[in-house]
């Protein structure tokens, strides 16, 4: 076993050596201008921010906003769908130029990537099914029940820090899922009592499932949402921030919010 470990470490070292060869210093902005396109990652399973329409095309608040940003920069957008968990790593490793997927600012994410200025603000929600008979007055009440959340999200961090690590609930009572619709399914199936998620996407799900009820809405873990950019790339950040500012001043983003977020 010891020998195996030695071999394993040698292999890992070789891999990291290989990866070190690929360090780059050039701004993504230059690449975007020469190629005439931005490779943007998104996880298109998060209505109303990013999802597929009936024809199977990507649509949503983030999608339309990014298309407009590209237009203002005079370039096209090349969309790359990817599971949410993989997006930050893909921007950090240069596989994507940037990613827009309802990202909140987060210190851990900030270690490997940068964030644009905020383009919108989101809220959290707690949701129960109609079978729920318990009491829910303050967010901390969630600790008394079996709780579900999408893994790697701000809500996941909030629960882990404020409920699990604070000793209010055992970790065994928290279920983490890859996507938000899976959390809602398990809530409907009765395997969890309550779920925490971004307000708008879960509202979208609740609209189609009358058995789901939003019992709390407010800013706990979330807040401003930003575009994820390559680490330390000031040129691209400046450009994106500038376009976001213009679109905010023109009222474009408010119009977009009205289109996608009004009930």
């Amino acid at each position: 076993m010891k020998k195996f470990l030695q071999y394993f470490i040698v292999v890992l070292l070789l891999l990291s050596l290989l990866s070190a060869c690929g360090a780059k210093t050039d701004s993504v902005l230059n690449k975007i201008k020469t190629d005439g396109k931005i490779v943007v990652g998104t996880s298109a399973d998060y209505a109303p921010y990013e999802y597929l329409d009936e024809a199977g095309n990507k649509t949503g608040f983030d999608i339309e906003l990014m298309e407009e940003i590209g237009k203002r920069m005079g370039v096209t957008i090349e969309w790359q769908d990817m599971p949410f968990d993989s997006l930050v790593a893909a921007v950090a490793s240069g596989k994507l130029d940037m990613s827009i997927s309802c990202f909140n600012y987060d210190e851990e994410r900030d270690l490997t990537v940068d964030f644009s200025e905020a383009y919108y603000t989101t809220e959290d929600a707690f949701v129960v099914s109609s079978a729920f008979a318990g009491e829910f007055n303050v967010p901390e009440d969630a600790a008394k029940y079996k709780l579900g959340v999408q893994s790697g999200t701000m809500q996941d961090d909030w629960i882990t820090e404020n409920l699990v690590n604070a000793g209010l609930m055992p970790e065994a009572n928290l279920s983490r899922y890859e996507r938000v619709d899976q959390v809602a399914l398990d809530l409907l199936a009765g395997r969890i009592d309550i779920m925490m998620a971004d307000h708008l996407p879960v509202l979208e799900i609740a609209k189609k499932n009358p058995d789901l009820k939003i019992v709390y809405q407010g800013e706990l873990s979330t807040g401003p949402i930003n575009i994820v950019l390559p680490e330390g790339d000031t040129a691209i950040k400046k450009e994106i921030d500038k376009v976001i500012k213009i679109l905010q001043d023109e009222g474009f983003i408010d119009e977009l919010a009205k289109k996608y977020f009004s009930e």
């Binding site: 060869c21 690929g22 597929l52 599971p83 490793s93 240069g94 996507r179």
Partner: protein, 226 residues
């Protein structure tokens, strides 16, 4: 049952559209399999030869290769190749996935071929040497043809595993069957239908592949073996 019925009654649902959308991911599943499986076979067969006939030192190296590659979850290797190694060389998710599955599979296929080579036995090799064939001729003309036949049943198992493991490339955003089922399931709020469709497609792919390999096995059976 009531759940399924409710799912099927969903409003803007067009089952054929959904199935067609998911099924169009088959091209990627097929592509990954067609790259990973044969390259794994080629490398695996070469390594198996080295393992069995290459002497003690080489055998040990092969043993380590096999242990390491079979010990790493394919998804970890996939992430290593896509996010770490291919920072310099720009490898697409599709190729990173196909290559890492090919590497993992080569270790399994090496063990399959090695087992087959060993089960043909040394007697055959000795007999071939006795009638005047060189060692190389004996291995290639006498042992290998029998070994490959013996390897078909376990190999068809490996083929089924690769077809299903090809779904792992979804983690890199390759729009294959599973990722498409996730997307359409999320946007139509019909996850049950989406995943059932994906399961159906995989089932058909694996069954057809195994049937074809069964036919091949029957065709290649040496009558005297029975």
């Amino acid at each position: 049952m009531p759940v399924i019925r409710q799912e099927l009654k969903g409003e803007n649902l067009d089952f054929l559209t959904l199935l067609r959308y998911i099924a169009s991911g088959t091209a990627y599943t097929f592509g990954v399999t067609v790259i990973a499986l044969p390259s794994g076979l080629l490398i695996g067969t070469l390594l198996a030869f080295l393992y069995v006939y290459g002497g003690k030192g080489i055998g040990k190296v092969m043993n380590v290769y096999s242990t390491v590659m079979r010990g790493i979850p394919p998804l970890v290797l996939l992430f290593l190749l896509y996010f770490v190694v291919s920072k310099g060389i720009n490898l697409s998710g599709f190729w990173a996935g196909s290559i890492s599955l090919g590497i993992v599979s080569s270790a399994y296929q090496m063990e399959i071929i090695r087992g087959a080579l060993l089960s043909v036995g040394n007697d055959q090799l000795m007999a071939a040497r006795a009638v005047g064939l060189s060692r190389r001729q004996a291995v290639i003309n006498i042992v290998l043809p029998q070994a490959l036949r013996l390897a078909i049943p376990p190999w068809s198992n490996e083929a089924a595993i690769i077809i299903k493991d090809s779904s792992l490339v979804y983690a890199l955003g390759v729009p294959e069957i599973l990722r498409r089922a996730q997307l359409i399931g999320a946007s139509t709020h019909q996850p049950l239908l989406a995943y059932l469709s994906a399961a159906l497609i995989y089932f058909v792919l694996v069954t057809v592949t195994n049937r074809l390999l069964n036919l091949l096995e029957k065709k290649l059976t040496v009558p005297s073996n029975h």
